[in-house]
Symmetry: C2
C-alpha cells in the first residue's frame, strides 16, 4: 500500500548537554531571543520552578508551542518546538540555541506530524 | 564507543485521525480525564482558539507537560505528553485517549530524552 503523508505539523525535539550551565534568567532570555530570531509569535507563557532544582517553561505560540525542561544537576535541558503551517520553521529556533550555547553534546529529532493513509 | 543513555525524560507523541470529530468542549474533557486517569498533576493550563478553526492547549504538569493541537478540518489532532521521573507514565495518558475515541488511524512515537555519552 502506498502511504501518503499529509504534513500538518512539525515537531523538533533537542536534548542539550552543556559544558557551561546557564541559570534560568539567562536561559529564559535565550529562549525569548530564539523565538524572536525565528519570528515566532508568543501568545502566552507558563513557568514553574521545581524544588530543589529544575524548571519547566511552556510558550504558547501562534505557530503552536515551545517547551523547555531543565535538569541543572545534569547540565541538561530538553527543548521541544512544535509548529503548524508551511512558513514556520522550528529548526530556526534550534539553530539559535546551538549558536549561543556552550554545548558538550546535543541530539536533534525531527518528527513530521500528520495523517498517513 | 559504547553509548550510555541516561533517561531523564520520556516524550510520547501521537497523531490521531478520527472517524467522529469531537468539539473542543468534549475533547478538552477527555484530556482532563486522561490526565486524571494517569495520575498526572496539573499545575496550569493555557488555551488558544485559532480563527476560523483549531485549538492549542498546553497543560503544565508536575510531571512536565501535555500539549494538544487540533485540526478540525482534517478530523486530526496531535498529542504530546512529556514526563520526567521514573514513576510517571505518558503512555497511560495515551491509552485513555485510544480507549475513548472513535479512531480511523493513529500513530505513536516514543522518544527517550537524556544524555548520550
Amino acid at each position: 500500500m502506498n502511504k501518503v503523508y499529509s504534513n500538518l505539523g512539525k515537531l523538533v525535539t533537542v536534548d542539550f548537554l552543556l559544558n557551561k550551565w546557564l541559570e534560568w534568567t539567562e536561559l529564559s532570555l535565550l529562549c525569548e531571543e530564539a523565538l524572536d530570531f525565528s519570528k515566532m509569535t508568543v501568545l502566552n507563557k507558563q513557568y514553574h520552578y521545581f524544588k530543589p532544582q529544575g524548571e519547566t517553561c511552556v510558550w504558547l505560540l501562534s505557530e503552536s508551542h515551545m517547551a523547555v525542561h531543565t535538569y541543572p544537576e545534569n547540565k541538561f535541558f530538553a527543548l521541544d518546538v512544535f509548529t503548524c503551517g508551511e512558513e514556520a520553521n522550528p529548526n530556526k529556533v534550534v539553530q539559535h540555541f546551538i549558536k549561543n550555547l556552550d554545548i558538550r553534546y546535543y541530539n536533534v529529532n525531527n518528527i513530521m506530524r500528520g495523517i498517513q493513509t
